[in-house]
């Protein structure tokens, strides 16, 4: 079943059109990779799906579980199961990571009409998940991402993904700023979350990440459109021949 349907999406930022009619369908359980050069509109797509302010959708639609996503506030989208793992996770000084996780999780649960976690239940859940991701308890006491290394920041994103159990995960350039070991740890975390009910959209420049998170479908974006789609071998092909061949196609 189609989880996410992006239809002929046109998006402007400050009078300049970035996406010129983008179409993409992601089914439950699938992992899609979106590749493309700088400025092809990959991050714009992820931001528009998550509902970041500053983007104007001029045409097209986005359906999530059959509902019009563009009609929802960004926090409603989160509660419905849309999760964006940020390329550059922000720092929030003075707010302990644990507090942040609990506040966010309970806000989502409340929005869905579910009961909020009690403190002991929440702590149990966080310990369980953080242990599987090799996240020390000490990190949870620090301010959100404050003084975290690049690898710790990305692991914190994966931790949240695991806690919130979203049905759609968008990973925006998860590999940026990570060395090979940090990348492997983060990717292992992501792989552990693959499930028949959950879909993932992995945005990346490089094929390297896809060695660790193996996609079902690969899309190539150029100049605001998807110009080619294929299986995982498409990524290897791109690695060998570069994006130049698609520039004309766009």
């Amino acid at each position: 079943m189609a989880l996410l349907e992006v239809k002929d999406l046109k998006v402007r930022v400050e009078e300049r059109e970035i996406l010129h009619g983008l179409t993409l369908t992601v089914n439950e359980g699938e992992v899609h990779a979106i590749m493309g050069p700088n400025g092809s509109g990959k991050s714009t797509l992820s931001h528009v799906i998550a509902g970041k302010p500053g983007y104007e959708v001029t045409d097209g639609q986005i359906l999530f579980k059959g509902e019009d996503l563009l009609e929802m506030d960004p926090n409603e989208r989160a509660a419905k199961g849309v999760f964006l793992a940020f390329q550059y996770p922000v720092e929030i000084p003075g707010v302990a990571t644990m507090t942040f996780l609990r506040t966010a999780l309970n806000a989502q649960r409340k929005a869905r009409g579910e009961s909020e976690y009690s403190t002991p239940d929440f702590l149990r859940k966080v310990r369980e998940v953080s242990k599987s991701l090799n996240i020390p308890q000490d990190m949870l006491k620090r301010g959100v991402n404050v003084g975290f290394s690049g690898g710790e920041k990305k692991r914190n994103e994966v931790l949240q993904m695991a806690l919130f159990e979203p049905s759609l995960c968008i990973l925006d350039e998860m590999d940026s700023g990570l060395d090979i070991d940090a990348l492997r740890i983060a990717a292992d975390g992501v792989n552990a979350l693959r499930s028949p009910k959950r879909a993932m959209v992995v945005i990346t420049h490089y094929q390297r990440l896809l060695n660790y998170i193996v996609p079902d479908v690969v899309h190539v974006m150029s100049k605001g459109r998807v110009v080619k789609s294929g299986g995982k071998e498409l990524a290897l092909e791109l690695e060998a021949s570069g994006y130049a061949q698609f520039e004309d196609a766009a």
Binding site: A50, G51, K52, P53, D73, P74, N75, A78, A79, F83, L84, F86, P89, V90, E91, I92, P93, G94, V95, A96, M98, T99, F100, R102, T103, A104, L105, N106, A107, Q108, A111, T119, G143, Q160, F164
Partner: protein, 498 residues
């Protein structure tokens, strides 16, 4: 940590016009005639059954006040106050002398109930984790000296305090019962001639708290006063005097809320603290007076003089304040570091939203040797408000080895507000070490979006980020107050974005 969560949960979409505490209690009150004259001063003194020396003191202050002009140096703007168009005294009409809580007007008790003030019982908060090394807060007690308009209506825990030798009573009572202490200390930190508003207060002060902690005594409970301005057009002139004798310790909490008003109300309080050798006073305030409506109409004018005198060696005075209310705030809780090795601290959160104007800060006056002071100020400006930190750090010629550390951080929410930092630093001897740090930042759209993407509403996100910003100061508050303050911070920033 759970408290932040609670804050976020409690944030409800309310308009500033629906100020939470904007209700009015219907009780008869006993008013002085409108306007200010020697007759008004005499009326107040008579109402209080004051001795002659007290009346004399008031009249001298009044005569001096007539020669003074209002200060204009603060960065605040308001229409000229007509001091003859105000009432200077209003008291709930007493049926007879009150001896127990049961005799107090149920309307008044109901008001406190709405404010959530634990007048009848020991204040206990559920689920609050004690700080390491602190006793269980559930067993900690708070004595409440409730000030309703101008007369203290009830004092609890008197007996237990008496056992410890601590005097905690309305100042009007102290004037009658402990004249030797009041005469010795009243005006010794803030003289009657100090400034326009302090002088006015000296002439017409109605009531307030008096605390005396004898040598070597650690006050067995937090002392607390709640102020409430209730009578239309009544200037509120509180007078508080706290004395910590040698080697004693006291923590005093002051919290304020006021009902909604159309007309501006003047408040000019004076607080004096005296710490003798090895004594420590901790004074915490959460101020939440009516800030005016969404068009900037109404609201309290808050012109306060608070000063502590570290009179003895090794003494310590610490001010912590959370300022969220008032249309205009003009307030500089200060420390005179007279004793050698004495220490002054100022921790402040000042939040302004709507059309609020805040000009607040502190003065650290180093007179003794090896004195130290610390200033942590967090200003948050939202809406169309103006938020100014104004501070003075000065070291006298003889204050060798004086040290100060100042950090002023300002956070802007939106683009129609302003934050200003005006530090004055004077070192009159070369051995002083003064450090000053200041930052101004805007609440980042990226940070807000990150929180919102994780499921928080815009307002919850702002509340969370701001509570993080002020954490260093909140930690200085007693536990019970910290929870209350966190709620206030979120509530006072409602409607500040998007």
């Amino acid at each position: 940590m759970p408290a932040v969560q609670e804050t976020v949960e409690r944030v409800k979409r309310i308009d500033v016009d629906q100020y939470r505490y904007g209700f009015e209690t219907l009780i008869e009150s006993d008013k002085a005639p409108k306007g200010l004259s020697e007759e008004t001063v005499k009326f107040i003194s008579e109402k209080k059954n004051e001795p002659a020396w007290m009346l004399q003191w008031r009249l001298e202050a009044y005569r001096r006040w007539l020669t003074m002009t209002e200060p204009t140096w603060a960065r605040v703007d308001y229409p000229k106050i007509d001091f003859q168009d105000l009432y200077y005294y209003a008291a709930p009409k007493p049926k007879k002398t009150v001896t127990s809580l049961d005799e107090i007007d149920p309307e008044i008790l109901k008001t406190y109930e709405k404010l959530g003030i634990p007048l009848r019982e020991v204040a206990m908060l559920e689920g609050v984790e004690p700080k390491p090394g602190e006793e269980d807060p559930a067993r900690r007690k708070i004595a409440v000296d409730a000030v309703f308009d101008s007369v203290s209506v009830a004092t609890t825990f008197k007996a237990e305090l008496k056992k410890a030798g601590v005097i905690f009573m309305p100042i009007s009572e102290a004037i009658r019962e402990h004249p030797e202490l009041v005469q010795k200390y009243l005006g010794s930190v803030v003289p009657t001639s100090d400034n326009f508003y302090a002088t006015l207060n000296s002439a017409v002060f109605s009531d307030g708290s008096f605390v005396y902690v004898p040598p070597g005594v650690r006050c067995p409970m937090e002392l607390s006063t709640y102020f409430r301005i209730n009578e239309r057009n009544t200037g509120q002139f509180e007078r508080t005097l706290i004395i910590a004798d040698k080697g004693s310790y006291v923590s005093y909490l002051e919290g304020c809320t006021a009902p909604q008003r159309d007309e501006n109300q003047l408040h000019a309080a004076v607080v004096e603290l005296v710490a003798h050798d090895d004594a420590e006073i901790k004074y915490s305030t959460v101020q939440n007076w009516y800030p005016g409506n969404s068009e900037g109409k109404g609201g309290i004018y808050n012109f306060v003089t608070k000063r502590g005198d570290c009179r003895g060696n090794n003494s310590k005075i610490s001010w912590t304040q959370v300022e969220t209310g008032s249309a205009i705030t003009w307030k500089y809780p200060s420390c005179i570091l007279r004793g050698d090795n004495s220490r002054g601290e100022f921790y402040s959160i000042a939040i302004s939203n709507g059309f609020q104007q805040v000009d607040s800060g502190t003065k650290m006056i180093h007179l003794g040797k090896n004195t130290s002071s610390r200033i942590i100020s967090k200003g948050i400006a939202a809406g169309k408000s103006q938020n100014t930190y104004r501070g003075l750090v000065t070291a006298h010629r003889k204050a060798t080895g004086a040290r100060n550390f100042t950090a002023c951080d300002s956070l802007l929410i939106g683009d129609k507000c302003g934050a200003h930092t005006v530090p004055y630093i004077e070192a009159k001897n070369s051995s002083a070490t003064f450090e000053h740090e200041a930052t101004t930042s805007k609440i980042s759209e990226d940070v807000l979006f990150y929180c919102i993407q994780r499921g928080l509403s815009q307002e919850e996100a702002v509340g969370l980020v701001v509570n993080g910003f002020v954490k260093d100061v909140l930690q200085q508050l007693p536990m019970e107050f910290a929870v209350e303050a966190q709620k206030l911070i979120s509530i006072s920033l409602e409607g500040s974005v998007g």
